[in-house]
Amino acid sequence: MADVINTQGHVRLGSNAGQGLTRRDGVLKVTGAATYAADNRPEGLLHAVTATATIARGRVTHLDVAAAEAHPGVVKLYTPDNVPPLAVSPDEKIHPFVWRMEALQSDRVRYAGQPIALVLAETLEAATEAARLLAPRYEAETPHVTLDDAEPFETTTTAFGRPADHSSGDIGKARATAARHVVAEVETVAQYHNAMEPHAIVARWTGDRLEIDTPNQAIGLARQTFAAFLGIEPAQILIRSPFLGGGFGSKAILYGGQLLAVLAARDTGRPVKLVLRRDQMYGPVGHRAPTRQRLRLDLDEDGRIAALQHDTLTMTSSFDHFLEGASNASHSLYATAALQTTHRGLRADIGTPGPMRAPGEAPGSAALEVAMDLAAQAAGLDPLAFRLRNHAETDPSNGMAFSSKALRECYAQAADLFGWADRPAEPRRMRQGQLLKGWGMGSAQFPCPMFTAAAHATLRADGSAVVETSAADMGQGAWTALAQIAADGLGLDIDRVEFRSGHSDLPDAGVAGGSGHTATAGTALFNAGADVVRRLVDLATGDPASPLFGAGNSGVTARGGRLHRNDDGRSEAYEDILARAGLDMLRGEGTGAREGQPTRAMFSHGAVFAEVLVDPDLGQIRVSRLVGAFAAGRIINPRLARSQLLGGMVWGIGFALQEEALHDARTGRFTNNDLAGYHIPVNADAPMIEALTVHEDDPFVNALGIKGVGEIGVTGTVGAIGNAVWHATGLRSQRFPIHPESLILSGESL
């Protein structure tokens, strides 16, 4: 696509950005040379292992400390009796990405999997064995871990401080005139991030300076958090996080174990490494909480939504606040005269939930799209026609115009590629051999937040440049996409730009989350580059010896490492301008943030179509095809964007059919906290799958026109699969994941 926007006068986005470049970290990753936090092994290292609670609620009454300490190789053991304290209260919220810092404060157990002791030993094996030898005894209390028995509590907010309730329009009036309504009740279950790389930290003190290797999605915030809880200055801490082996939200928030490792390293004077086992990541490092959602859609005679009500019941821990904002997914997607959404919270004996790829939107979209399918059926309309009829021209929650919304084009392209036009309206009309075949669809939507980021760009004497920002590459490709944007900001070819990232001494790049990292850090990098170019233009146009002398500030364009006069095309290389000015470098700074209060509704959109095959005897469900089309503003790197979208859609398969963390209701313990028992999609579960991107110019979302692609693929997909299962079988499961038994036991025959 040759569209080029001129955002900053002298430089343009569109030379490097927009190209499907291969990843800059690709070679490191295919040779095994990319290093993850747990790969670090400083001299004198001690291995830490946590002992974790096997009850969900109660007290630890005894730990066999003597037996554990006697194990050969054990160096030190921490329990609530001797753990060094945090500098501030564990409940301190120094910024919105801080969860209560659970670091062995007491013998109280509030969730299964809670750390109850930390063992340090010369080897991992010794630490592991000593942790086992602690053989904890408990005074157990009856735990509450389900939506049925957990304690209700009052709340006015959901995740990240959004209001719990919303109401616009007159829902009573709208209902009074409606012709019919449908009600959908949908449950979603607890899910765990399960990034392939476990949570890990290596901490080392040198005097009062602390070095940390840990995978983290928000290095600058993490440094502030560590500093606050340790009572030291952020400047004393260096965090390195060059590569994350996946994050999906769980590595955006620090957990107590990381603080414990740091405290233990300070206490013992030796470097400490803590790597969580897979089972230990069920509890302390966040998850997606279960929801019970109810939607009511009132329709007028023509199948237009007159009123939309979406209520969510969900749960959080007994000691913190995060509530999955599922009902918010209904705010801005479909037109309605009246809108009412609520969230109610429960406190359960579980670890605190947190953001997990498309938090709120994923379960909310799943339920909304099921409700839309029911409503389409009630209105006697094709599901796509029904969605088009209810296409929102403005955001129904606030009346704002959309910054851009190529959703119609997404529907058209995806439907066409999928072959939707041939879909029989009635369920159970298609077969493939013995198998029942069904088609379903869903709309995808995800907001476009921006955080705040800063970046530096330095042009060197040879005309190459280095750009710096502490961005996190958790697999999405920040190293590559951000370098492309930076190169455009500098008017340089990407191979002339060195990209430094992934540690906390660099300018803060904000959060790699909320699908806002490329937009935020990208804006900062672009601006830093443009700042360098502006200084360069000042030098050249004011220098009588330069061919650009007198060109005037607006008459110059930077491209390919040269400044070009717009009038007669004469140009000069960056290095020559620097040399003549006697400079060996020129430095620029930039920031990225949303300016002012938004006056437009800003979302990425998409449409997902799914085909499933259901075995009528066994109830086994397989997704056989998935087609998505997404409009997400300017795509910086189509190759990387596609893999983000496909990845999100595969997550949708997991959500719809597989993922579910199971508790034993009696003890509150997990029964499947490992990768064999908690099912995530494997290659054989992934069908023929395609993700298209639809062109979209968005002059409002930010100067670069970037939205985000990291999470939207999950939305739409879950509902599409659920709706396809209905189309195949005529049965609507009221919960995700849909398991064979949900169909078999529904009482209806397949």
Binding site: M196, V275, Q644, L646, N683, I689
Partner: protein, 160 residues
Amino acid sequence: MTLPLHLTVNGQSVAEHVEPRTSLADFLRDRLRLTGTHLGCEMGVCGACLVLLDGKPVHGCLVLAVQAAGSEVQTIEGLAESGALADLQRAFHERNALQCGYCTPGMLITAHSLLETTPAPDRGEIRTALSGNFCRCTGYESIVDAIAVTIERRAEGAGA
């Protein structure tokens, strides 16, 4: 208690003392600093820790280091250096068959072994063969693409 251990790793002979409870993956990562072998589940499910033991893929998390005594171990580092994976690596890189890269070494080792035993698998066979390698990111489609293109290229190369 430690035991003497002699084995060959990536063509080099190694003599060490290890505790019998040390897994091969931990031994490679911690003692030999071959950190391209990753750990995801430590129960033989995810495939992140795959290495070749006497030419056959094994889960490094399920094999004890002492069980590899006298054997030849190849890790992603050794296979990369020998060039045995060069075309697969290139295809993975070109097709963006990796995101966070954590699963990638194990994927490459499975892919390599698949093509050793089944020279021309179709996409379905590739998917099945790779289903013991989890990719949470998840690049399954591109991974299949990368392997399929490698098969084509090898066939062209052989035919030429």
